[in-house]
């Protein structure tokens, strides 16, 4: 038995260490590249794995923008991160609020067309943003919402997945709880805020993490609805740094920007990890 568990441990460690290497190595390469000069990266056949001396300068350029020695204009990443942060937060919070409310309506109210509403929401689960992107674009543009926060975030807020998840969770809440709240004199919204929302805390946290990253990683939609540089999210910004044709790519700056783009989602995941895991694993009584 001891031998077997020893072997198992070794195997588990091997798998995990391999996984960490596979994920960690590109990050290391990106970091190393961001500390070297553009010539070093372009000139050598293979990238040195030792950090160079140009780190500070590169990161400053990436964050605040400016001209490089090659004369290419680098757009500052900091405002893009701000755009990304605001829209990711708006999308995540918006999704959660709308899903909570619609799940509440679906589970606790009897109204004509309830089943139809549920099925309509359910069907949209099968339609990703990309499928409905043209009609959505046309609506947003007709409403003159291009290049606005509203246009950037609102069309991404409706979420069938989250609605469905909350619906399933609400259905596990014993019906006597609603009845007790009714006897206690709680109005529906009071019940929602005093009982349902606190009970959904962990699910909300888990969804927030998932939806924040979803919002942060949006690429196609911002590409369509933003035309002014001030509304570009960072994911688009990185793509724009990689020039096509004969322009030389400043890989060091691109790598720095890519690493910068990873920081906020990483903070969200690490900061909410405990809640996140609880929300995914836990099924209370």
């Amino acid at each position: 038995m001891v031998e077997r568990t020893g072997l198992r441990h070794a195997l588990a460690h091997f798998v995990l260490i391999t996984g960490v290497c596979v994920i960690g190595f590109p990050l290391l390469v990106a970091f190393v590249a961001s500390t070297q000069s553009a010539e070093d990266i372009a000139g050598r056949a293979s990238l040195s794995l030792l950090p160079g001396e140009h780190g500070l300068e590169t990161w400053r350029t990436a964050l605040f923008g400016g001209q490089t020695r090659f004369g290419s204009n680098i757009a500052p990443v900091l405002p893009m991160m701000w755009t990304s942060l605001i829209s990711a937060l708006a999308i995540a919070i918006g999704k959660i609020v709308i899903s909570l409310l619609s799940a509440f309506a679906l589970v606790y109210f009897r109204f004509p067309g309830r089943a139809l509403c549920f099925w309509l929401i359910f069907v949209t689960l099968m339609l990703p943003v990309e499928v409905r992107i043209l009609p959505t674009y046309s609506i947003v543009s007709n409403l003159a919402l291009l290049d606005t926060w509203t246009g950037l975030t609102v069309p991404l807020m409706a979420s069938a997945t989250a609605t469905f998840l909350f619906r399933q969770f609400f259905m596990t809440i014993p019906p006597e709880l609603v009845e007790a709240a009714r006897m206690d004199g709680a109005s529906p919204m009071r019940f929602f805020f005093d009982v349902l929302v606190p009970l959904s805390k962990t699910s909300i946290a888990a969804l927030f993490v998932i939806q924040f990253i979803y919002g942060w990683n949006q690429y196609l939609w911002p590409l369509l609805v933003t035309t002014s540089e001030s509304m570009y999210p960072i994911v688009m910004g990185i793509r724009r740094m990689i020039g096509g044709g004969d322009a030389a790519n400043e890989w060091n700056v691109v790598m720095a920007a890519a690493l910068l783009a990873m920081i906020p989602p990483a903070i969200v995941v690490l900061g909410m990890q405990r809640w996140f895991v609880k929300g995914l694993v836990e099924r209370e009584k």
């Binding site: 709880l177 009845e179 007790a180 709680a186 009071r190 009982v195 209370e284």
Partner: protein, 360 residues
């Protein structure tokens, strides 16, 4: 308690139909009429599915009345929201808010009602003291035992000082020992508060020990309303006779001819004049019969020992019969045959077809 007003509850031809008018209509409560006096403790007793919980939920306002009227004091309840009925309910699974402390659970309705903070605290403390919960107010339901949760649920009802208490099988999730304690507790609290109470249960011991009066229900209808003694001593129907008492009353299908009861073709002399001739149902309590030198021959098949008593299951001229004997008498063994004697007053007569009581 402030203004210990108590109100009578009147149920007037109350009906509840689910899916009314459609093919799968369910008539859960049928023409229930009852009046419950102010301050009275009434237990609704019946087997599961008899409509007793539905009736309670109609009074609470959790279900809507299809026909009929429910009146508390001078207020017609039918169209009132549950919150505006001034009724508190204790649920079977307690329905405590899992994320709130015991204190918050009890205080919730008062907060909604907008009472001043100090008064809420005072009322909760008082209820907690009465229920021995004072030390546990900071705990959440998950950190409380079953009995403690049950007391918090009671506390949540008491703090509201309602006009009417409803209990929906609140003791059925407790183990036997706690159940006896909680029963005494409820009785004691009712004595202190003196509020009209309606208590639903399927447990006849709970009903007999708690009730001022019992309403026995079956298949949505009231079978009998009466004091525990009356329901036991003079069951109105064979259903009540068979439901109340442990073991239930022996019921025998026979024919009366002259002064004899014919069971399985055997003529048995009756110690009294029967109320009518022809087919009839005769009832005898297991504890009302003695061994005696008669033609009522009982054949023992199985003996249950219950400490002070033994129940002997067997047959009386082909019909299933149980007798209850104290343990100090001569022992009965399976296969023994003995004659049974009983007082004329011990006999209950029921109509063979309708099952309703015949004799006075």
């Amino acid at each position: 308690m402030i203004g210990s007003i108590s109100d009578p509850l009147a149920l007037n031809a109350v009906n509840k139909r689910y899916n009314a008018g459609s093919r799968n209509e369910v008539h859960a409560v049928k023409d229930v009429t009852a009046s419950i006096d102010a301050g009275e403790f009434v237990v609704i007793l019946g087997p599961s599915g008899c409509g007793k919980s539905t009736l309670l939920r109609l009074v609470a306002g959790l279900e809507t009345v299809t026909e009929g009227e429910i009146r508390l004091g001078h207020t017609v309840l039918n169209e009132l929201e549950p919150a505006r009925r001034d009724i508190a309910m204790v649920f079977q699974n307690y329905a405590l808010y899992p994320h709130m402390s015991a204190f918050d659970n009890m205080a919730y309705s008062l907060r909604i009602a907008g009472l001043p903070r100090a008064e809420i605290a005072a009322r909760v403390q008082k209820a907690a003291a009465a229920l021995a919960l004072s030390e546990l107010l900071e705990r959440r339901p998950g950190q409380l035992s079953g009995g403690q949760r049950q007391r918090v649920a009671m506390g949540r009802a008491i703090v509201r000082e309602p006009r009417l208490f409803l209990f929906d099988e609140p003791l059925s999730n407790l183990d036997a020992k706690l159940r006896v304690q909680a029963r005494l507790e409820i009785r004691r609290l009712h004595g202190q508060l003196g509020r009209t109470s309606l208590f639903v249960t399927h447990d006849q011991v709970e009903a007999m020990t708690l009730a001022d009066r019992i309403i026995v229900m079956n298949e949505g209808r009231i079978e009998q309303i009466g004091t525990p003694d009356a329901v036991y001593a003079r069951p109105a129907t064979t259903f009540v006779a068979g439901f109340i008492g442990a073991p239930p009353m022996n019921l025998m299908n026979g024919r009366v001819e002259g002064e004899h009861l014919f069971l399985d073709g055997v003529a048995l002399p009756l110690p009294m004049r029967p109320p009518r001739q022809g087919p009839i149902m005769m009832g005898l309590r297991a504890e009302a019969v003695r061994a005696g030198d008669t033609q009522w021959l009982f054949e023992a098949e199985l003996v249950e020992h219950l400490g002070s008593q033994q129940h002997v299951h067997g047959r009386l001229h082909g019909q299933a019969f149980v007798i209850s004997r104290s343990n100090d008498g001569p022992l009965v063994r399976p296969g023994d045959r003995l004659g049974l004697s009983f007082d004329p007053q011990a006999i209950h007569w029921f109509d063979a077809a309708s099952g309703s009581r015949l004799s006075g």
